[in-house]
Symmetry: C2
């Protein structure tokens, strides 16, 4: 069990699986996840934070393993009834899930910041690693498409990622401030990891909060990134289509370029080992590791290997 | 099947059962329920209207027959999770129930009046009788006890009706206005029924909305009331304790006195037939009928008998 302090920038499913591996090889008390909130939205009056929930449920041992998100064994009686009442049902709401959304929404309404609420929820669910939203401020990822500017969940869930992408904007990024604890965690970190998450809509929003990118750049800790693209395809979600639509190479190299000047070590999958020299020409070390976290043991191995690379 | 227009003032379970009987003997399109909203409250950020829900679920054929409220077969996964998150769980929230609360809360937040929302919900659930909240305005029944002034659900559910009662107040009654359709329905009614509901916290709040009592007093239709007290006991809830604590006789006569000058026909249970002369001395006709609606057929018989008495 490593005793080093690790900060991980996290999106949803891929990040959550990596984090679960990480807390298997590092004392969870030394792990801080800084989580994307650009996907957050209000639906049926509920403040929903999909990435915070996915990370929390996964670290709490509650996650639905098949989906990678939601709570295992959760039911959808409420959602069915919403449908019967003529309400929208395109976004899955598990009955247990709704309890988390209700608590978050009510506490936000009482004036508590999202970071305090997130901390309360993770403690109530027995999670020892620290989970921080990137910001307590309103922040929304907006996808520019031929259909117009779509709120992220409209693009992602309601329309199933089917729209070509012209651009991605972060509404609120100009005035957002890092949530309490974010900059301090980065300053004190001994290792920083950009999880295998979508670079455009999971990692970029975090880096777009004024101060976070700068803190990582000046932090003494080495920085690693794990590619979410394997064999030219995203393991989950639309990262490959986004790379293509936005004019980047649809490969791990395309991702590595996005992280130029930020990352010291780039980890790509063994399938993409041949791309390593091209990544190294960007001025970062590159290692090929089995990054497909099909089993929890694989995630632990990956986390251990990434930390090992950062210590070298 | 009677074709007369009936208006019924309704609280929760007893009223809902009577209304279900009523729509069995009168064309439901001619039935308007004016429902108490003094019990409404906000809990976990949800706007909950217990009496509207009980009436709606019962007329929709969805009600949990054993409790008389809630949805048959509803689960409580969300409530359990709320408990795990350290949130309050003293008020039952079924998962399907929550869908109704979510829809209501969201639509209220969008500026729709409660009456429109209630109408939408009952239509979505296939209810043909009209269900009107007594008012669209904020209105709260408050119970004065030795522990201080308790919001109704705190007295009723959280503390289980265990506190002695000094007084009952209706907050908001001064400025509330009847919901759209309420006064018109009363004016056009051919029969008006005060359902077998708690006179203090179900019927009195409705009558306390400025204009409703006056409309009933001047309406051409005859008015009947069905006693919720049988053999000196409330069939459900704390009506008997309220009568006692507030200095009234704990009998059907105590209820009849509260309805003096408003009611033409008072219906008490056959068990209380001996009290009929005392009720008649109050200046109303009195009939003894089997009022215990143990089965739906009994509720239909009771509704038919009450209408028969009003036509005489």
């Amino acid at each position: 069990m490593h005793a080093i302090k690790v900060v991980a920038l996290a999106g949803g499913v891929g990040a959550a699986r990596f984090l679960r591996g990480l807390v298997g090889v590092v004392d969870p008390c030394h792990v801080t996840a800084i989580v994307n909130t650009g996907d957050d939205f209000v639906h049926h009056g509920l403040h929903i934070s999909p990435d915070l929930d996915t990370v929390t449920y996964t670290l709490a041992g509650l996650v639905n393993e098949k989906n990678g998100w939601g709570i295992a064994g959760d039911t959808n009686a409420c959602l069915e009834m919403l449908g019967r009442l003529g309400q929208e049902t395109w976004f899955w709401l598990g009955d247990r899930d709704i309890a988390v959304h209700l608590a978050r929404t009510r506490l936000l309404g009482e004036g508590l910041p999202l970071s305090s609420i997130t901390d309360r929820i993770r403690r109530a669910l027995g999670v020892r690693a620290r989970i921080l939203p990137m910001t307590d401020a309103p922040f929304a990822t907006v996808i520019e498409t031929p259909e117009g500017a779509l709120p992220f969940q409209d693009y992602f869930v309601r329309r199933g990622c089917r729209d070509p992408i012209h651009a991605i904007h972060f509404r609120g990024a100009g005035v957002a401030r890092p949530a309490p604890g974010v900059l301090e965690a980065i300053d004190l970190a001994e290792a920083i990891v950009l999880c295998p998450s979508n670079p455009f809509v999971s990692i970029a929003p975090i880096l777009a909060v004024p101060g976070i990118r700068e803190a990582i750049e000046r932090a003494p800790a080495p920085v690693a990134a794990v590619s979410p693209i394997v064999g030219g395809k995203a393991l989950k979600g639309p990262a490959d289509r986004m790379l293509r639509d936005l004019g980047h190479a649809t490969t791990a190299v395309g991702v590595a370029r996005l992280y130029e000047k930020l990352v010291d070590v780039f980890v790509l999958d063994t399938q993409d080992a041949a791309l390593a020299p091209e990544v190294e020409r960007l001025g970062m070390r590159c290692a090929a590791i089995d990054t497909i976290m099909s089993l929890p043991q694989r995630a632990r191995d990956l986390a251990r290997d990434v930390l090992g690379l950062l210590r070298r």
